[in-house]
């Protein structure tokens, strides 16, 4: 195989591995923003909290992050529901403007409280898996930790998708997404389902945070970029589509990886945003999207 082709495929595969986590993050936001119409500018901050939960368990109890991430997800589910009840529900029918401000405020509080409690220092989470040599086949090598995250994320991606499509709760959720006025007439408790969806979306960010922990340095504002990335993913996938967000996540992962390989890593984030602006202005329904409501 010619060198340029192996390089290209290698970058593509690396991108898919990262992309699975992006898919998880994006699906969480798709539930909150795409389906429930809550503009959540704190998604990355919640992800960061998920990382800290997993890190504390690792640091204090030596719990492997690949188990600890479950605790991150559970904690953020409960935490997300609390935040919904206390801060989001009172303003859910106000303008986008107010929702953006509120969730920006929540993000500032989360980041700075964590900073106050744990300081601004960087933490590294070294586990056995990150130290092992990469897994190789043919001319390709894959990072074992990333491979592990990819597998776990895949299970949750399929699980969430099936849940939304098949379960009664998932049906109620889609009914609300289609028509919030009619849903209560069908015996659906809108507030309950909305709170649940918000919490579930936040939990997805928490799970992704836990899974990202071995791959990243941890510091309070680590989640900042992920808020915008999550919106990029949702927009790429087409509003309101959980499956679209999963694909959007993979696309973003591959785009970043290819950008890093050919332009340099420092341009990856900039390319994300340029892609975002292009999609919004040229094809607002998303690359794979149905129409945007």
């Amino acid at each position: 195989m010619p060198r340029f082709l192996t390089d290209f495929l290698q970058a593509g595969m690396d991108g898919l591995l990262t992309g699975a986590l992006y898919a998880l993050i994006g699906m969480g936001l798709a539930l909150i923003f795409g389906v429930m119409r809550i503009v959540n500018f704190a998604h990355g901050a919640f992800l960061m909290v998920g990382m800290y939960v997993s890190w504390i368990l690792f640091d204090k109890l030596q719990l492997n992050p690949y188990i600890g991430f479950l605790a991150s997800g559970l904690f953020l589910f409960a935490f997300g529901w609390g935040v919904y009840k206390l801060l989001i529900q009172p303003i859910r029918d106000r303008s986008d403007f107010m929702q953006i401000l509120m969730t920006t405020g929540i993000a500032l509080i989360l980041v700075d409280s964590i900073q106050l409690k744990f300081g601004a220092d960087y933490h590294q989470t070294i586990i056995d898996l990150t130290n092992r040599p990469p897994f190789g086949f043919g001319p390709f090598t894959l990072n074992r930790a990333a491979l592990m995250s990819f597998g776990i994320a895949g299970v949750f991606i399929v699980g969430l998708q099936q849940f939304v499509v098949r379960s009664r709760t998932g049906q109620a959720l889609r009914a609300i997404a289609q028509n919030r006025e009619v849903a209560p007439l069908m015996g659906i408790n809108v507030t309950l389902i909305q709170g649940f969806s918000f919490a579930l979306g936040i939990a997805m960010a928490g799970l992704a945070g836990g899974l990202l922990l071995p791959a990243l340095y941890l510091f309070p504002s680590v989640g900042e970029d992920y808020t915008l990335k999550a919106f990029v993913i949702v927009v790429l996938g087409g509003m309101g589509s959980i499956e679209g967000a999963a694909i959007g996540g993979l696309v973003l992962g591959v785009t970043e990886s290819l950008t890093s390989a050919y332009l340099g890593q420092q341009w990856a984030l900039a390319v994300d945003f340029v892609l975002f602006l292009l999609v919004l202005s040229l094809k607002p329904s998303g690359i794979f999207g149905r129409q945007r409501a």
């Binding site: 405020g105 409280s113 900042e224």
Partner: protein, 330 residues
């Protein structure tokens, strides 16, 4: 809101001068630096108010213009342009940027608009971080606008002057067709176009004026701190700060941005010692409180309290049947 005419202008000027003179009596660089920031952010809040307040477009990308002001000044000056001309040229470049950015972002609504403004700011930050001509992550040193003697005094006074200019622009806007058109756009774009307002065009004009003033603020800031890096003058935190100052004080009001700047910056200054790096915590808490309990901001809330007297009584309906005596009705 009453007209700004005749003696009122002079009264305003007098109050501003008196206000401006007070900190000069305290020849302490720390105090001057704090009041400089307060005045600068009051100016930035007023500039943002045109777009975010009157026109109701929640931009979180104003740091783009701020950063272009600072970087533009430094880069023009490095090419031997006289320093004040460099400031002016930088503001013009920022205005040009506003035209380009506006033509993209104003096609989007609601959260997509806000997100795309953030994205533009971030693209600029990342570009400045990665280019050699902008000094990359290391940054650039900036030219001094004032001699070292009376350095902070002069910066403080120029921030006051900028805030005053921004205030006049706001005052004129609130009493002009331009301002009425912006408010119409904020309230309902369809209605606005039904009365003949070219909404895209007016939003763009507001953004360009706002960008020019914001860039002047950026240049002042860049020069005052003598050195700029992308993370100091192109960070999204500045955009958020400008918006929150205005929202807290009252978006779309004349005094709101000034009140917001004084309150928020003094609060964060007080908490800086207590919380060190976490002083944005107070911002977060204030935002949550304002959104929950005071959605119109401090000045806005007070105004509607006063206006409540002017609320229509239950019988405000036009008298039915009185139009034509010939009409029988039923």
């Amino acid at each position: 809101m009453s007209a700004l005419r005749g003696w009122r202008i002079f009264a305003l000027l007098g109050v501003t001068l008196a206000f401006a003179a007070v900190p000069l009596l305290v020849p302490n660089d720390y105090v001057l630096q704090v009041v400089f920031r307060i005045m600068l952010f009051a100016a930035l809040g007023l500039a943002w108010n045109l777009v975010g307040g009157y026109a109701g477009q929640l931009s979180l990308g104003h740091v783009a213009f701020f950063g272009v002001g600072a970087y533009g000044m430094a880069m023009f000056h490095a090419r031997h342009v006289p320093v004040w001309l460099a400031v002016f040229l930088a503001a013009c470049v920022a205005t040009g940027f506003a035209a380009v950015i506006g033509s993209v972002v104003f096609r989007l609504r609601g959260p997509y608009f806000t997100l795309s403004t953030i994205a533009f700011g971030e693209v600029l930050r990342l570009t400045a971080t990665n280019l050699v001509s902008t000094g990359g992550a290391i940054g650039l040193s900036t030219p001094a606008l004032f001699p070292p003697k009376a350095f902070w005094k002069m910066f403080y006074l120029s921030a006051v002057a900028l805030a005053f200019v921004c205030f006049l622009v706001n005052a004129w806007t609130s009493r002009s067709r331009f301002g009425y058109y912006l408010m119409a756009i904020r309230e309902d774009e369809e209605t606005a176009s039904a009365v003949g307002i070219d909404t895209a065009n007016y939003k763009l004009r507001a953004l360009m004026v706002s960008a020019f003033l914001t860039a002047l603020g950026g240049a002042l800031y860049g020069s005052a701190f003598q050195f700029i890096v992308p993370d100091s003058v192109l960070t999204v935190e500045i955009s958020v700060q400008i918006a929150i100052i205005t929202m807290l004080g009252g978006a779309g009001t004349l005094l709101g941005p000034v009140v917001g700047a004084v309150l928020l910056l003094s609060a964060s200054e007080l908490f800086k010692n207590k919380f060190q790096e976490s002083h944005l915590l107070i911002y977060g808490i204030l935002i949550v409180v304002v959104v929950l309990f005071l959605p119109e901001g401090i000045v806005g809330g007070l105004q509607s309290l006063l206006q409540r007297k002017a609320k229509p009584p239950a019988n405000a309906a036009p008298a039915a049947g009185s139009a034509a005596p010939a009409q029988g009705g039923d």
